[in-house]
């Protein structure tokens, strides 16, 4: 029978299955960061259990780490906030005690956001199950992986057993055909999809992204797209293997070599949905219809093209939805029917596991080159996703473009995506952000987040308000 990519990935990892369909699924790669792991390591220790397979673990510190003044003190002493420092040091101690395939501690040359670090080191390989105590683990689905976020109890479960107890999800195919217009990116595709199916549209599904527009995306673009699958409610999203996948992986530190590489590639080539495979739901979008997107509310589904206006709750018939819109507009300080391009911003954030890879920085820099951030913008931050991304960007001279335009060029980390460190919005401040969540308070209590692509963030930085990047290119 014709199988979907998801069927193949699932089947390849079932260790044991109960009559009700509950299965024990083997985990190949376990990514670990400082925020969701301490209680799991402690639980393991208290129960007197040993980790099952240390070589599955790749760890880094990213959420709490500061993005500036790394050299002001030795090691973790450069982290001012004592509780953040304690969490980072707890991870250091846990990995020291337990071991790992790789650990990129604070300030390491390869440290960075866990979902940037895994793929760029070849620690994420096609056909793997990849888990992490972080919902954006869906990012790794770009490599045809079954990759999803887990809670801390499950982190402990994977540490102790190398398995998870799972039930198979339903399958959804999202096909985007045609060619993306100039200035339209994977981020816009992701937001347009969420705008279409809603933030709960993918709940209970594993999403496969396919179609010529997806095939045309680089691995960076595919990661951006799969990263946002969770914002569409799906625990995971993935893209089938093709030449782009294999070309990306060749020569990465943990990629196989020699004969094993050839054997791996032969297997990876099978990681596609068979002709005629059946999905539980199919959604189709035309790439040509997608314009640069801007969110206006407090949920990623509250999104419109940059050419549109802020929606009017008076036109919504569902009372719960209407009230939700009114609450969002009030929180965001917006008036219905205002053109998106008239919304002025206070801060700009280019970074996060959605959009902090080299391609994102190049795209933003292309817009910024020879231009200046508007005087009304209080802070514009560029935060590379990892030490390796940062170094490459500097080799290409992108840092100089950012700085000349008036951006601050920072050290890698999650930064203002969730504002656990010092990078954050003040109450009422409005931000053009390349991150993935515009929830209330996400970037700082009272902060107002608008999700956009890196190009759109750059265009907004220059204009001081949202602007259609297609006119700036």
């Amino acid at each position: 029978m014709a199988q979907t990519l998801y069927d193949k990935l699932w089947q390849n990892h079932v260790v044991h299955q109960e009559d009700d369909g509950t299965a024990l699924i083997y985990i190949d790669r376990h990514l670990v960061h400082e925020v969701t792991s301490p209680q799991a390591f402690e639980g393991l220790k208290l129960a007197g259990r040993k980790p099952w397979r240390i070589s599955s673990i790749v760890a880094t510190a990213d959420h709490n780490t500061p993005t500036d003044h790394w050299d002001k003190a030795e090691g973790t002493a450069a982290i001012d906030d004592p509780i953040s420092r304690q969490q980072v040091e707890t991870l250091d101690a846990n990995i020291r005690a337990v071991g790992a395939l790789a650990y990129f501690p604070f300030k390491d040359a390869r440290q960075g956001i866990v979902h940037v670090v895994g793929p760029e080191n070849g620690a994420t390989l096609p056909g793997m199950t990849v888990v992490c105590g972080d919902s954006h683990t869906s990012t790794h689905g770009a490599f045809a992986c079954m990759a999803h976020g887990i809670g801390t109890s499950e982190v402990e479960h994977v540490l102790a057993t190398q398995c998870l107890v799972q039930k198979k999800s339903k399958s959804m195919l999202i096909r985007v055909d045609g060619e993306l217009g100039r200035g339209v990116t994977a981020k816009d595709v992701a937001l347009a999809i969420i705008g279409r199916i809603g933030t709960a549209g993918g709940t209970g599904y594993a999403i496969e992204f396919a179609g010529s527009a997806i095939r045309g995306l680089s691995m960076e673009g595919r990661m951006t797209l799969c990263n946002m699958a969770i914002e569409a409610g799906a625990r995971m999203g993935f893209v089938a293997v093709d030449d782009t996948t294999i070309d990306y992986l060749r020569g990465r530190p943990f990629s196989p070599t020699g004969e094993i590489w050839d054997k791996a590639v032969a297997y990876w080539r099978t990681l596609t949905s068979d002709e005629g495979a059946q999905f539980d739901r199919v959604v189709e979008l035309s790439a040509a219809d997608i314009a640069p997107q801007v969110t206006w509310g407090t949920s990623p589904e509250m999104v419109v093209p940059v050419t549109a206006t802020v929606p009017d709750p008076a036109k919504e018939t569902d009372p719960v939805k209407r009230e939700g819109m009114e609450r969002a507009l009030q929180y965001m300080g917006l008036v219905p029917n205002t053109p998106i391009s008239e919304i002025a911003i206070d801060k700009v954030f280019i970074g996060s596991c959605t959009n902090s890879r080299i391609e994102d920085l190049r795209a933003a820099a292309a817009v910024l080159k020879g231009r200046r951030v508007a005087a009304s913008v209080k802070l514009a931050l560029a935060v590379p996703g990892s030490g390796l991304v940062k170094r490459q960007a500097e080799e290409e001279g992108l840092d100089r473009i950012f700085v000349a335009a008036g951006f601050e060029w920072r050290e890698p980390g999650c930064s203002m995506c969730l504002a656990m460190n010092a990078d954050r919005l003040e109450p009422g401040e409005r931000c053009a952000s390349t991150s993935n969540r515009n929830f209330e308070g996400r970037q700082g209590p009272g902060g107002r987040t608008h999700l956009v692509s890196p190009q759109m963030a750059a265009a907004a930085a220059i204009a001081g308000h949202f602007a259609d990047v297609r006119e700036a290119l």
Binding site: H16, D20, D81, C163, E440, G441
Partner: protein, 213 residues
């Protein structure tokens, strides 16, 4: 994990779609390396008028009188009633820890986000999905009736209203067993240790690239 069998509890209504885990427990409280003590900061940004800091005593903080869980009639609630896609966003298990610490043992909604739903079971919280019409009716009854309680009967897989109406719900057989017995998942999985080992050995031979040292 605490067992969950039957619960009769006061119901608190949170009439919103898409309540995310950032709202349930804001990020500054995730810096803790413990599993407990998150209750006073559950819904922190909605519950208090100031900005909360980790480690702070919350009792003198100014409360937001408009936030529903601050109303005297809902104090001591054990059942949370809400709408669609509850628990969306971040995978933080601190969200169920905070809700449990606050006192909630069951959550009734039209739908839940996957990861949150899963995390509830790991902590002895029962998440219950009911049809929109029944959730609507419950909201109307809760708001009209001070002291409104519901009985959640896990063995019978039903929520009982005070007027005698029983609303059946679905729950996975495996998860139900775990909740009823308060079982530790890891112990259960380790019963299959031999199978896991055999699977792993086969994999090591067939796909050696997955086992880089």
């Amino acid at each position: 994990m605490e067992k969950f069998v039957k619960l009769e509890g006061l119901v608190a209504p949170l009439d919103r779609n898409n309540v995310d885990t950032d709202a349930i427990i804001p990020k500054q409280f995730l810096k803790s390396i413990k599993r407990s003590g998150f209750g006073p900061n559950a819904f922190d940004e909605w519950r208090y008028l100031d900005v909360g800091q980790p480690g702070q005593d919350c009792s003198p903080r100014p409360k937001n009188p408009d936030f529903v869980l601050n109303q005297p009639r809902y104090q001591g609630a054990q059942v949370l009633l809400t709408r669609q896609n509850f628990g969306c966003g971040s995978s933080r298990e601190h969200a169920p820890w905070a809700l449990l610490d606050f006192g909630f043992k069951a959550i009734i909604a039209e739908s839940f986000a996957d990861i949150f739903f899963n995390n509830c079971f790991k902590n002895g919280i029962l998440p219950i999905v009911l049809p929109a019409a029944e959730v609507d009716a419950l909201f109307a009854q809760v708001e009209a009736t001070p002291g409104y309680t519901l009985t959640v009967d896990l063995p019978a897989q039903a929520v009982m209203r005070p007027d005698g109406k029983a609303m059946p719900f679905q729950v996975d057989a495996f998860r139900k067993e775990c909740l009823l017995n308060g079982w530790d998942d890891i112990g259960l999985t380790l019963r299959h240790a031999d199978k896991i080992r055999a699977f792993e050995e086969r994999r090591r031979v067939e796909q050696p690239w997955l086992f880089a040292q």
